[in-house]
Amino acid sequence: MRRTERARTAVRLTAPRSTVSNHSRPISRGFQGRRTDPEDRHRVPPGQYVTRDFPVLSAGPTPHVSLVEWTFSMRVGDRPLGKWNWAEFQDLTQTRAAVDIHCVTKWSKLDTVWEGVTIDALLKAAGLDAAPTPYALAHSDGGYSTNVPTKDLAGKAMIATRFADAPLSAAHGGPARLLVPHLYFWKSAKWVRSIEFITADRPGFWESLGYHIYGDPWHEQRYSGD
């Protein structure tokens, strides 16, 4: 029996006010800019702009996997915690979330609606009350991976299979992508197939290529060292 819950999983933070004086910043003569709608301003992290589009960014070709072959699994080291095929995954408790997302390439998209299975629900289905380690690595088709502390998964993340009331398209990460909306969107790994729980933090794909290890948009943690 499929159950749909309404939930707002994203914690909405208030943008930290800039304390840096603009006097040191060079003025770009003649630049006016397009200000964010004042109503949305507290929802848009520094350096971001709001778009209604949903741009696609990925490092290589889009993998196309059939739902018959698709599985999702979790493990700690070599020890499997749980594995679900597509039908079994659909039988898990489905949660709906309306969240804002923020891409490191500067666009933010407000009020996006997703459905899927929360990490909490997956852990529960695997017989666990909480994540077994402090860190996790999400692994995807196409060799992509990303690291996330498990405290950022608990109560905040899901494996999403639907976007805007339709199945998630392959270009946007379907059949399933990780959704960790409070971090930059590269952390919401497309084409996710497994989560590996790890004891010590380990950089994933983009994190090994100059992007920030954690990626908090409210602190503008775009690149290594930010």
């Binding site: 770009s28 003649g30 390439t105 666009w107 290594s224």
Partner: protein
């Protein structure tokens, strides 16, 4: 890698690039250097302190003294109209980089190179071609470049000059809207037949780069995989629709 710091750069000159783009040449005395394929973040500050950031590909090669950005004007955009119509020599703004460690080309491993550009997606490949000209002349290389028309093509004269000078560099054009009179080349969007005729056969030493609008990159990358090219040999960079 150390922190990427914002640095102030000044506009040295601006040149038209096709019909809707400009190349902005910058004086960037603190630039740490880059690899072909990398990009930068640009930050503009209005007189009231409001700031906006966007990313642009670096079109200049690592050895060039000035840093050149290719900017296509996006209708309704915030930063690209400024950089393509308002900016003048001597204007200043901030920039940081280089950014991106995957869509980069390093001459050292050798091999074969196949690049597929759509519109302003040719910008990072100019950095590759200029760098290749300096350090890897003779490396078997193909650039397949899709432009709307000859007037929209960017860097066309330079690309053709590089190809004339090096028989190992093959440049193939296709025009999707308007081809020149008596044009005998391709005059359609890149499809499986064009890729079969222009791309080197699948080879472990072949590296493929595809850069352009999302639908262009999605279509070509998917077709290349269907034609038997390994997904891990294909690197993509997608623009937009709002990646202005």
């Amino acid at each position: 890698m150390g922190r990427l710091r914002w640095q102030t750069v000044s506009v040295e000159s601006i040149e038209p690039l096709g019909r809707r783009a400009k190349v902005v040449h910058l004086r960037a005395p603190d630039w740490p250097g880059h690899l072909p394929g990398q990009h930068v973040d640009v930050r503009l500050t209005a007189s009231d302190g409001y700031q906006a950031q966007r990313s642009y590909s670096v079109a200049s090669a690592p050895h060039e003294l000035r840093l050149s950005l290719a900017v296509e004007c996006v209708a309704g955009g915030e930063v690209s109209p400024y950089l393509t119509t308002e900016v003048r020599p001597g204007d200043v703004f901030e920039l940081r980089g280089p950014i991106g460690g995957y869509f980069v080309w390093d001459a050292a491993p050798g091999g074969l190179l196949f690049m597929c550009a759509g519109g302003s997606g040719v910008a990072p490949f100019m950095a590759v071609l200029e760098h290749r000209e300096r350090v890897a002349r003779g490396l078997p290389t193909t650039l397949l470049y899709s432009a709307r028309s000859p007037e929209d093509a960017m860097f066309a004269a330079r690309v053709d000059a590089l190809a004339r000078d090096d028989p190992a560099l093959d440049v193939v054009w296709t025009y999707t809207r308007e081809a020149p009179q008596a044009w005998k080349g391709y005059a359609r969007r890149i499809d499986a037949a064009i890729l079969r005729e222009t791309a080197p056969p699948p080879d472990d030493r072949l590296l493929i780069y595809v850069c352009g609008p999302t639908s262009f990159v999605e279509g070509i990358a998917t077709t290349l995989v269907e034609l038997g090219y390994g997904p891990s040999s294909i690197r993509t960079e997608r623009f937009g629709p709002s990646a202005e």
